[in-house]
């Protein structure tokens, strides 16, 4: 387990949910354009007639294009890292939402299971309905803002599991300490 989450002795991880891959695919789709566009531009130019394939400028083009590909490659892994490090961890005591916004910017929010009042699932849009992903909205009694996790796969199943854990957490015997005044 990573260093940033410290679990209690009797705490166990019951669910580990990552976001659905489709929003990530949409995010990296524009990289394909960057891969395809330079060769199209290079070879569709009129000067192709006056250049043989292995001329000096073709070599320079390959050099420049490999730089573009390298940046695309790095960008893809940056996007993947941002996607992969977004995790929803559900233990038998709490829900921990870890959100990697960008490099060196992480949000970690924790919510006790017994504080949950209501769970709302939102599956919005054609693709979300088809591929079964959506948002999970955990509401608490406190005045603090609601706990929203976007783009998780099978949100209804996750909701049921979290709700069952919430019921277990409420019904679990609580430690009560009685202090007598002397």
């Amino acid at each position: 387990m990573a260093k940033q989450i410290k679990l209690d002795l009797d705490e166990k991880i019951t669910l580990l949910i990552r976001k659905h891959f489709l929003p990530f695919i949409f995010e990296v789709l524009f990289l394909v354009v960057l891969i395809v566009f330079p060769p199209v531009l290079f070879f569709s130019g009129r000067f192709i007639d006056s250049l043989s394939f292995l001329s000096d400028y073709s070599v320079l083009f390959i050099f420049g294009y490999s730089i573009i590909i390298l940046f695309v490659w790095i960008s893809f892994f940056i996007a993947w890292t941002n996607y992969y490090l977004d995790v929803l961890v559900v233990t038998n005591k709490r829900v921990i939402d870890i959100e990697q916004k960008r490099f060196f910017h992480r949000d970690i929010a924790t919510l006790s299971l017994d504080k949950i009042e209501d769970i709302k699932v939102e599956i919005k849009g054609f693709l979300a309905t088809l591929l079964n992903y959506g948002s999970l909205n955990l509401q608490t009694a406190a005045e603090s803002r609601e706990f929203v996790i976007h783009n998780i796969p099978q949100p209804i199943k996750a909701k049921d599991q979290i709700w069952n854990l919430h019921v277990d957490a409420i019904q679990a015997p609580q430690d009560v300490r009685i202090i007598q005044n002397e």
């Binding site: 531009l41 007639d49 320079l60 050099f63 490999s66 790095i74 892994f77 890292t81 870890i98």
Partner: protein, 152 residues
């Protein structure tokens, strides 16, 4: 003067309940729009950059191929070299800067994979293998083309 709803306390500074409700709804709507905009900001930035890049490329392509620029009427390599002089030093500098950027981002990526991965380390191991294999192939092609350019 239009009086909306019931006024409290007789003072003009107090809004009636329906007005307060309407204001609350408007505030909620405004907050929702702000939140959505903030969420979409990342993608919007990318889209904006992409549009800018396309616009630049489009202008460059159009002016290069279609416009009759004086002193640059033909498209032969000779005229290209007159138009665009690229010395070996520039190519070397670009190569070294790109390598430096690559090293910095590689360090950042591996730092995140090492420190923030939750349990499933096999996945990050796979990612590392794929990342380094792909990068080494691309850098190899880049180096070979640099050597070919320098020995032209």
């Amino acid at each position: 003067m239009k009086i909306v709803g019931h006024m409290h306390g007789g003072g003009c500074g107090f809004e009636s309940r329906p007005v307060r409700l309407r204001l609350a709804v408007a505030r909620l709507r405004r907050d929702t729009i702000r939140r959505r905009r903030a969420k979409a900001g990342f993608l919007n930035n990318y889209a904006l950059c992409l549009q800018f890049l396309f616009a630049l490329l489009g202008i460059g392509y159009f002016s290069y191929n279609r416009l009759m620029i004086p002193g640059y009427p033909s498209y032969s390599p000779d005229s290209l070299s007159r138009f665009l002089y690229i010395s070996d030093g520039v190519v070397w500098a670009v190569f070294l800067i790109v390598l430096l950027i690559f090293l910095v981002f590689t360090w950042i990526l591996t730092y995140h994979w090492r420190n923030y991965d939750l349990g499933r380390t096999l996945m990050t191991l796979r990612a590392k293998i794929v990342y380094f294999m792909g990068s080494s192939v691309i850098i190899l092609i880049m180096t070979l083309s640099l050597i070919a350019w320098l020995n032209k």
